[in-house]
Amino acid sequence: MFVRTGSGSVCPQRGYGAEMAYLDVATAAPLHPVARQALLAALDDGWADPGKLYTQARRARQLLDAARATLAELVGVRAEHLILTPSGTTAATLAVHGGLIGRRRYGTTVVHSAIEHSAVLHAIGEHGVAVPVDRTGRLDLDAWRDAFAAPGVALAALISASHEVGTVQPVEAAVEAASVAGVPLYVDAAQSVGWAPVPGEWSLLSASARKWGGPAGVGILAVRPGTRWTTPYPDNQREYGSLDLPSVVAAAASLRAVRAAAGRDAARLRTVVDLIRDRVSATVPDVEVVGDPVDRLPHLMTFSCLYVDGEALLHALDRRGFAVSSGSSCTSATLRPSHVLEAMGVLSHGNVRVSLPRDIADEEVHRFLAELPGVVAGLRAEAGVTGL
């Protein structure tokens, strides 16, 4: 049905053991081999401060310039419009805060989808107006357009594709509606940038290298020319403090590598996710597979199992060698259900998000599909809810 294209995560040198299937790349992808190679080379070659004038510094400067040019090209801006940050969260915060400062003459409101990443919601704070999504997790464009009729809108924020359910958002139409109102749009592209550039005339874009197989600790913020965006850092600095240059180099190299293979990888993972969606629906009773079945990220799917405790399900899957994530309240620090599942109006307990590495082996997928129904049935039997 689909072909195994890589070594698979049964490979012990990837660091999670012979029987551990890692199915949570939407949180952090394992380091891409190209990133590892670039990182090791840059540790030897790019340790100097690129701002100095001696030979070692010039070498570091060359590496930085090349990495920035690569990242900029792949997100669709010129190098001078790409800001490097110490994390994706920092980039998201910088996008929102800089956007609010740049547009403070016009207002303080941020119009955003109800399914933004919590990092973006935290940056928006009290200034937000949340626009609803439908049952599949897609932005309600009519409500989005209406939100710009109110006075004082400084900024719009939209995730390119949901990090929890995978549904792709109508970024181009959303940009159009915002620009009619003269409002710049910030797009959080963390989940999609490894697959393709974000279409449309967005003004600000952020992403995080660890989501595409680069190292943790590298975020990017693209600021299109003409955008009213003002850095919140002292002395009008756009980048603040020393960059981790070897990690930046590795981030750029791995983004180029994953983009080069994106067409093939996406086509394969789409068939894998289709299979998982079909099999989970067919073999697990009382399950709700959520998110758009077609217009979605290639590598991610989400489902909720009625009457099952999400934390218990995560632990049971972990014991069988499957690392997954959950939007259920019992798995969150706040004991609140995922705001994304809440906004969609879908079941929040017993929730599992599966996000696939690009080299996931067919065997691992089949093992997951073979074991899941028994795991869920076992938990239901334990809780005495069978047949409800």
């Binding site: 009625l306 259920s328 259900p337 109006g345």
Partner: protein, 72 residues
């Protein structure tokens, strides 16, 4: 009409939904069951359960209270 009340306060999800699923079949078709649940997930999961089970979610008359009508 005083509705039947199912008190699930202090219970974490999915327990209130499980209690609802166990209690509703005891009531006649057309009956209203008021579920009291202070776990924030109940606000999402009780309407979702009604949709999945083709029962009627009749809204939240007060904070931490959710009305369900047995349809079948």
């Amino acid at each position: 009409v005083t509705p039947e009340v199912l008190d699930c306060r202090g219970q974490r999800c999915p327990l209130p939904v499980i209690a609802l699923a166990k209690r509703l079949p005891d009531l006649p078709v057309g009956a209203l069951l008021r579920v009291l649940a202070d776990d924030p997930a109940a606000a999402v999961d009780i309407p979702a359960w009604c949709r999945m089970r083709s029962q009627e979610y009749a809204g939240s008359p007060a904070e931490s209270a959710y009305d369900v009508v047995r349809l079948r």
